[in-house]
């Protein structure tokens, strides 16, 4: 199923992959801020992940409640096999389109 991923969806999925076992709301947000220089609200991340989960691209599980979350559980996310394929396909498309353009892009 050739589903297209939005720009922000790709970023979130990449962040989830990078964080591996520790991907949950706050860590994803910090990762995006640190590496993609994107400041987003927890709500935006949540709805994006919800959407990705409803499309079967990520899965989630609840962790133990922690005091710094006011006794609430973390919700950890992981890319599904379908998610990984979908992301790879999107990025491949980007890479192919970028071929030969790197020097130009670096300059700008």
């Amino acid at each position: 199923m050739a589903e297209n991923l939005g720009d922000f969806e790709q970023l979130v999925m990449l962040a989830v992959m990078r964080l591996d076992e520790d991907a949950y709301g706050t860590s994803i947000r910090e990762e995006l801020k640190a590496r993609a220089e994107r400041e987003v609200s927890p709500g935006a991340i949540f709805t994006t992940l919800e959407r990705l989960e409803s499309r079967g691209l990520v899965t989630s599980r609840y962790g133990e409640p922690t005091p710094e979350r006011g006794g609430r559980s973390k919700r950890f996310y992981k890319l599904s096999a379908e998610g990984r394929r979908s992301l790879a396909r999107s990025l491949r498309a980007v890479r192919r389109l970028m071929q030969g353009l790197e020097p130009k892009l670096e300059r700008s």
Binding site: Y24, G25, T26, R29, S41, P42, G43, A44, I45, F46, T47, T48, E50, R51, S54, T66, P67, E68, R69, G70, R72, S73, K74, R75
Partner: protein, 875 residues
């Protein structure tokens, strides 16, 4: 760490605004982020951060996220459970997704519901709501009737009926007088009613403070709530206090409640026990008592009328001095109170109903267009498995939400309209308790809104067919098919018809008001100002004292800068005069005695007031106390009683009682004046001099030229007070004010009809425009072919305009027929114009057809510019 907590309010908001799926995760993330920021940048920064992130998160979860995730459009599981929320949220989202349609629907509905509720409130309070008295339906007003004109009742007749009239369980008499109230600050004019002992129990009202007076308390008084607030500063200890009325001390024993509106003399300030011995010492033919009665429990209105017919015959037999045509009649109190306002109320109610109808048809047209526009989407959803029932329920919910919002806005509009109407209540329903919007009316308004909504939801369903395959295969056009066009055309024709009826009604009222304002008054109202004074107490008992006052005041007011003339009278033309019996010397003894109005005026009155003598002379200073008595009569009186034209020089007696003591000579005939206001018929009227007939009150009238002092009212008061500081001056009035008050009712109905008619016109023309645009879009291909085959551009333009004209002519014909039948309803309101007035009917029709042509002009221009090749290629 646990001591620091995120802002409580923000957290609460998040808890309530987020759904259960997102709540824990998002709030947890925010909580964690909050502590991180707090450690790095302190409490204030953390709170700021929390708030801004919370708001953004709510926005993301509730709005932008939902918009993408809104399941409704794609949720077609036939067995899926549909919650009310699933239906309601998209229904409210109409306001965002199709704001123009939503606003137009709600706006027009609100307007119609508002106007209808306001009219209903007024009509209901006039005809349906119980009168604010105990068993108000049993109350009647007892009147003397002479030649069909009704007036008050003789005290002697009242006494004879009291207790001797089986069908009337209770009678109460009211004798209103203007009185002078004196307190530490000076004097003021108040309205007092002398009432007989049954008055309060008959109406079933009692004081809110204090008590009713006892039979022997002849000096007691009960004051109105307004008087208590304004003159007694609402003091808590007024009961038992003394107040001075007309120089006599009285004891306040009670204060009436604020909501008590007396059926007659609504502005009464105080009620006193009627002085029956004094009233009974007067002659039988003087009629001064206003009489209310309650029908006995088993007596019908017919019983009362039959009894009074017998009573009238007995009176005629016993008292030959009565006018022959004099009878006594009983009218249901409600008829008396609403009476003359009926046609005005009916006109406004009918106009509101028409407005409601035009809005219903307009909304049906709008929703048909909307249904056509949404057809493609519906077809997609039907193809994907949405059941017809589901689609229909959604459509109903959408319509009901629009109706509800529109109706609620309408109730709000009605509230505003009623507040405004209450300000003008005195002109048409002054004697009915003040208007207010009540719950039944509000429910009726909302129910009507829903009915209109249902109509506008069901109509498109029957004409706009959603057949998945057909619709999807055809192009995604916004135009409709033949059935839709026919329906919308019929709706527009209906709107044209209704709008025309309203235009005709408005036109007739405009013509009436125009006629009234151009009506010959018979005197010159320009620059005329007057005031009224009572001359109280023993000081003014003699005619000489009254005349001295009159002369002194006139002398002073003539010196006020700008005053060119001044005159005095007892009873002023626009105020009216006393009705009195007329006897003509030399007439056969059994010839009928008529009734005429009588006023006392100072010499040269006819000249000073700007009226015209057509025969004989004006009253002169030489018509003094000891000179032969002289009267000037108006033309109507001369014509009615001297049809042979020999009125001048006739000797007459005008007044109650038996003629013969002193005869008056008719010395002049004046042109008719609209002495009782522009809308009333001219009554036979006679004028004598204050020198010969004087009562202890005066109207002082002055005329100012081009220069009218800004302080005129104050100067007039000062002139009166310079002569006698103890005299209270009632309101100073100008002739212009009085004349426009006389026309206020006609003006109000006119304004209502013009405004309603204008709204109807706008709705109807916009509906017409929409249909013409739709039609010409559909027929674009046809136009292109015509042009390609050599038709002229003008010919194509005419095709479009002709459509508009055909629709309008069909509608206008129906409208004219309805108007011919309907204008009879407002006949009672019309003056100087026939209900079927050719000028009004044709002007309204022409205006409507002209507007229809203008509305068709824009689509016609577009049609004529059709490019055959492009259009046909696109097809």
């Amino acid at each position: 760490m646990s001591t620091v907590r995120p802002p409580h309010l923000a957290e609460r908001l998040l808890q309530s605004l987020l759904d259960e799926r997102s709540r824990d995760v998002v709030v947890g993330d925010l909580h964690e982020g909050f502590h991180a920021v707090h450690e790095r940048r302190g409490a204030a920064a953390a709170a700021r951060w929390y708030w801004s992130q919370a708001i953004q998160s709510v926005f993301a979860c509730r709005i932008s996220g939902r918009r993408q995730a809104d399941a409704r459009q794609f949720d077609f599981e036939p067995v899926a459970r549909v919650s009310a929320r699933d239906l309601l949220r998209p229904a409210f989202r109409q306001f965002r997704d199709r704001p123009l349609y939503a606003a137009a629907s709600c706006g027009t509905l609100a307007l119609a519901i508002g106007v209808a509720c306001a009219s209903l409130t007024i009509v209901k309070s006039a005809f349906i709501d119980p009168l604010p008295y105990r068993d108000g339906h049993e109350l009647v007003s007892l009147l003397t009737s002479v030649d069909g004109a009704t007036s008050a009742v003789s005290t002697h007749v009242f006494e004879e009926l009291r207790g001797n009239a089986p069908p009337l369980a209770q009678l109460a008499g009211i004798r209103p007088t203007s009185a002078t109230y004196t307190n530490a600050d000076g004097t003021s004019n108040i309205l007092v009613s002398g009432v007989t002992s049954e008055y309060f129990s008959l109406l079933g009202v009692s004081p809110v403070q204090g008590r009713l007076w006892l039979p022997d308390e002849t000096s007691a008084t009960i004051v109105s709530d307004r008087f208590w607030r304004e003159q007694l500063s609402g003091a808590g200890d007024v009961i038992g206090r003394a107040m001075v009325v007309d120089g006599r001390a009285r004891t306040i024993v009670g204060v009436m409640p604020a909501q008590f509106v007396p059926p007659y003399f609504t502005n009464t300030d105080a009620w006193l026990p009627a002085d029956m011995p004094a009233l009974l010492s007067d002659i039988r033919t003087r009629r001064v008592l206003t009489v209310l009665a309650r029908r006995a429990p088993h007596a019908s209105q017919q019983d009362v009328e039959a009894f009074l017919a017998v009573f009238s015959r007995q009176q005629q037999d016993r008292f030959p001095e009565l006018q022959r045509s004099q009878t006594w009649v009983a009218r249901p109190l409600r008829d008396e109170l609403v009476g003359s306002a009926r046609p005005a109320l009916m006109a406004i109610a009918a106009a509101a109903l028409l407005l409601l109808m035009i809005v219903a048809t307009n909304l049906a047209g709008l929703s048909t267009a909307q249904a056509v526009a949404a057809r493609h989407q519906m077809a997609v959803r039907a193809a994907l498995g949405a059941t017809r029932a589901r689609l229909f329920v959604e459509q109903l919910v959408d319509t009901f939400v629009l109706s509800l919002v529109g109706s609620l806005a309408g109730i709000w509009i009605a509230y505003g309209l009623i507040t405004v109407a209450a300000r003008y209540q005195q002109f048409f329903l002054g004697r009915i308790a003040p208007f207010s919007l009540d719950l039944p009316t509000i429910f009726a308004g909302i129910a009507t809104g829903f009915l209109i909504g249902l109509f506008s939801a069901l109509l498109p369903r029957s004409v706009v067919r959603v057949v998945a395959n057909d619709t999807l295969r055809s192009s995604r056009s916004t135009t409709g098919d033949a059935g839709v066009t026919a329906t919308r055309s019929a709706l527009v024709a209906a709107q044209v018809a209704i709008a025309l009826v309203m235009l005709v009604g408005a036109g007739l009222l405009i013509r009436t008001v125009q006629h009234l304002s151009q009506r010959e008054l018979g005197f010159d109202p320009s620059g005329l100002t007057w005031l009224q004074v009572n001359l109280p107490g023993a000081r003014y008992r003699t005619t000489e004292a009254q005349l001295q006052f009159e002369r002194d005041v006139l002398e002073r007011v003539r010196q006020i800068p700008g005053v060119t003339a001044a005159t005095a009278s007892v009873g002023f033309p626009l105020w009216g005069g006393t009705m009195a019996g007329l006897a003509i010397k030399g007439a056969p003894a059994d010839s009928p005695r008529g009734e005429v109005a009588y006023l006392s005026v100072s010499p040269n009155f006819v000249n000073d007031i700007g009226a015209r003598i057509i025969a004989g002379r004006d009253l002169l200073p030489t018509d003094s106390l000891n000179a032969p008595k002289a009267v000037v009569i108006n033309e109507t009186m001369a014509r009615r009683f001297w049809p042979n034209g020999d009125a001048l020089g006739a000797e007459v007696y005008i007044g109650p009682g038996t003629p013969g003591r002193e005869w008056n000579t008719v010395v002049g005939i004046m042109a008719d004046m609209r002495a009782h206001g522009v809308t009333e018929a001219i009554r036979p009227t006679s004028f004598g001099t204050t020198y010969q007939y004087s009562w202890p009150r005066r109207h002082i009238a002055v005329r100012t030229g081009a220069f009218r002092s800004a302080t005129l009212a104050a100067d007039l008061r000062a002139a009166v007070h310079a002569v006698d500081p103890g005299i209270a001056v009632a309101a100073v009035t100008t002739a212009e004010q009085a004349l426009s008050a006389g026309m206020a009712r006609h003006r109000l109905v006119m304004i209502a009809l013009v405004v309603f008619g204008g709204v109807a016109l706008v709705l109807c023309i916009s509906g017409l425009y929409a249909v013409i645009v739709l039609n010409s879009q559909q027929r674009r291909r046809e136009y292109a072919i015509r042009v390609a085959l050599g038709a002229s551009r003008g010919g194509v333009r005419w095709l479009v305009v002709r459509q508009a004209l055909v629709l309008s002519v069909v509608g206008a014909t129906a409208g004219l027929l309805t108007a011919v039948m309907g204008t009879r309803l407002i006949q009672g309101l019309l003056e100087g114009v026939q209900p079927i007035d050719p000028v009004t009917f044709s002007l309204a029709t022409i205006a409507l057809l002209a507007l229809a042509t203008i509305a068709a002009w824009h689509p016609a221009r577009r049609a004529e510019r059709v490019e055959p090749i492009e259009t046909l290629r696109a097809e």
